[in-house]
Symmetry: C2
Subunit: 193 residues, 2 copies
DNA sequence: GTCTATACTAAGATAGAC
DNA sequence: GTCTATCTTAGTATAGAC
């Protein structure tokens, strides 16, 4: 059994994704981590400190996913594998949305600096995508990266709103075709270039 | 000066967009509407009732925007004008995100029926877009409509996350080029082009 | 270092005066 | 029909026992 601090952080990641930051109480997190409520304050000075730790843990998880994608030799395969991962997670997206997106959306409504912390995670994803498009020889790599992540964030929101995982599947297929069309230019009229 | 009920509803639409549902208190709304706090309960039985009225008012505003788009003869112009509207509103999106999207995202975290009410508004937008693509003779009109609204929701989230209106401008231009690339001789018998 | 009991605060909701 | 004062609850945070 891991240390309580780790258990609390992991429980926070899960609960914040499922219920959102505002609706999740310290009691919810403590229960999920099997730690007494009042005890939370021994490990984290405030709720925001715990939220920050949760964002950090989520960022690390994303980092290691990105690292495994970097093992693939071709940038277009890295991007398509990323999209494949989104599709595999479609049921979770239908239930709770994209973890990164819901965090950014919710934390933006706050004055403190937590929103910037969440934004950094999102920026990391865009920066990595931009590198892949650049490796593919695209001079408009930034716009393409923004468009790709926007497409994912948008379809996550719709998949969640309508509780329909199929939306993610279909959009994922469309995005993979798009990546292909960027790698090997075709006459596909749906080409988003 | 309009009735207090209308003032409260209008203030709620504004505050819910700017602060989100959870962070907005009845006191916030009452202050914005210049109505005493306790008095709110004369007009709305609960906070949720007021939120529901706000969603309805927002839906009506969208409806009238859609109605004015329908005045345009060509479906691709209707879609491009819709996109132009999104770009014009870019500063608001950078500050607070898309009103419909943030509502759907936040209300989804709740068990009650308010999330379905917000989802209906989103569905209305997709349905209307689907009609436009169908009028353009596309058999894959549903997928295209979902992709368009997802692109908008996603770029709204990123524009808001990075507080950068320019992101909306660039993605809007890309989407307009995309609409142009989809244009086909229409199979709509009512289309007199 | 761990946990219980409790203080404090903010916000939703109600009772009742005018 | 309008508004003030107040009740209640829930959730963050702290003090202090063990």
């Amino acid at each position: 059994m891991r240390g309580k601090r780790e258990r609390l952080t992991a429980a926070a990641v899960k609960m914040l994704h499922e219920q959102g930051v505002e609706k999740t109480t310290l009691a919810d997190i403590a229960r999920a981590a099997d730690v007494p409520v009042g005890n939370v304050y021994y490990y984290f000075k405030t709720k925001d400190d715990l939220v920050e730790a949760a964002i950090g843990a989520h960022a690390q998880r994303l980092q290691s996913m990105i690292a495994s994608l970097d093992e693939l030799p071709a940038p277009q395969d890295r991007l398509k594998t990323l999209i494949g991962g989104w599709v595999r997670q479609r049921d979770l997206a239908a239930q709770f949305g994209c973890p990164t997106g819901t965090l950014c959306s919710e934390l933006d409504k706050r004055a403190d600096g937590l929103d910037r912390t969440a934004a950094k995670v999102m920026r990391g994803l865009i920066d990595w995508s931009e590198q892949q498009f650049r490796s593919m020889g695209r001079s408009d790599s930034r716009d393409l990266a923004v468009a790709l992540i926007a497409a994912y964030q948008g379809i996550s929101l719709l998949t969640n709103t309508f509780r329909d995982p199929e939306l993610m599947t279909r959009e994922g297929a469309r995005l993979e075709r798009w990546i292909d069309s960027l790698a090997r230019p075709s006459e596909d009229p749906d080409d988003l270039r």
